[in-house]
Amino acid sequence: MRPFKYTHVNTVQSATQLVSTHSNAKFLAGGTNILDLMKEDVERPDELLDITFLKVADIKMITEGPNKGGVSLGALSNNTETANHELIRLNHPLLTQAILAGASAQIRNMATNGGNLMQRTRCPYFYDVDMPCNKRVPGSGCGAMEGINRMHAIFGWSSKCIAVYPSDMAVALAVLDATVQVANSKGQQRRIAFTDFHRLPGENPEKDNNLLPGELITAIELPPNKFASHSYYLKVRDRASYAFALVSVAAGLELNGNNIVQAKIALGGVAHKPWRALRAEELLKGKEATEANFQAAAEAEMNQAKPLEYNRFKVELGKRAIVRALDMAMNNGSK
């Protein structure tokens, strides 16, 4: 870990101003990812702006949104309090499950909602500074492309990068049609649709998301949803807990009797961002909620995948996971 200046910031305004004027400064919230990466020498800020002392009212509240059932999540609320907040548990249980599928109790007590969106990939070539990685050092090449890419993307990757986005929470947020609220140093607010927040790697894998320099996430807003009683977050992994996803599925079904008014599905562990399964959603719209229809939708979605040498299994696993998650959503998550 390189030497860095440690600075408390007290207002959103001063935080965004400092990060704009100090070119190599970064925000410190829960620290669960950035300190890990600084110890690995992957992240090398020369200043950390500790935003955890910002006022509760500015950025740490979980409050009911303007529409009944809508919720605003403070960016600095931690994962545990978010997952267990009654507004979330009762109205957005999918988010509760997704958050609780990630990391460990200790980490969720530290990690913040904003920080969760700012996580970096767990690609081992990104994490090891002695390996090539276009995300870490643009132009150095992708170690994973011809390497051990079992954990890597099957959708939306580019010749520059095949990393996947590691968050579970974000997969649920993609389904919940969340909006990310950000502030900049001029005191302006901006809202970004969640599905536009993260990027595909394209030519610039060093950019994980569409935040502009100097912007700070202040809140994540969730509109009311109509599938609170028919949703499920399924995570498939190499061990039962405390492991990143091979494939995960967030599924929500808005039903009219046994008819699907609308299905919302997103996949984790398969792309550089939470992957909305739009083709599957489209196919399910207006259909009966049957195993055969789930199967057809999953096939249609996963058949678009472009697997790599060691992750072909994710195509079949994705199909099965989508069907299973939809089944579970039908049963309201009962196992």
Binding site: F4, L48, T80, N84, L90, A105, Q106, M110
Partner: protein, 262 residues
Amino acid sequence: MNQENENPDLTEDEKKLFKDLMPEDLKEIMDTGFSRRHFLKLISIAGTGVLASHLLGAEQLLARPLAQPSLNELTTAQVENGVRVSFKVNGFNKNLLVDSRMTLLDTVRERMELTGAKKGCDHGQCGACTMIVDGKRILSCLTLAASCEGKSVTTIEGIANGTDLHPIQAAFIKHDSFQCGYCTPGQICSAVALLAEAKNGEVSYVTDQVNVPKKPLQLSENEIRERMSGNICRCGAYPNIVAAIREVQSGKSVEQKWNFAG
């Protein structure tokens, strides 16, 4: 005294579960998630006197003042980007100058002679460094000391109440919930915090229904397993860790499973 009003959160199931407990136990369980008195009873049944020597040992060990730990002050030459920070450790106020890079784990271990918390991975992947900060379990290896200003930190050295072991500590001994012992301080801090989380009604990934209002939870084995999965134990003491926590959380004796045959 009207017990119903005393403990409005108690469900019928929980009442059944605790029916052999005294009203005082019930109150204590509601307040803290466990019953000390009832627990000691369980121990004395199970320990057949062997444990007495341990408890004697406990008194001797813990009778020594909980190390008002010395602070190894660094010179300014030794510190780059020094940050002066004040926080409580096991109830004692600490004020010290730290390198901005220094983690809470390294600060407590290298500067305060509190070496109970362990460095197993230093990257948030094992849980051996778990401490309780402001009532919540956290990973001290991913916490900067500089960011602890004004906080209250509890390490394994601060878990016992004077000369009384915390029931989780006693249950870990009874159930042999460790072998090498290196992950144990983290496991115990984690388990102590878990009791409060359950009392607070926090759900987990293996909870069947999460879209229900919060109420104190009686944890199944699988719930304890999931909630303790952030603490890796390479010796494989997991079943014994689960047994210890289950016993404390439920206030009911949990059986050890071994048999002789042949």
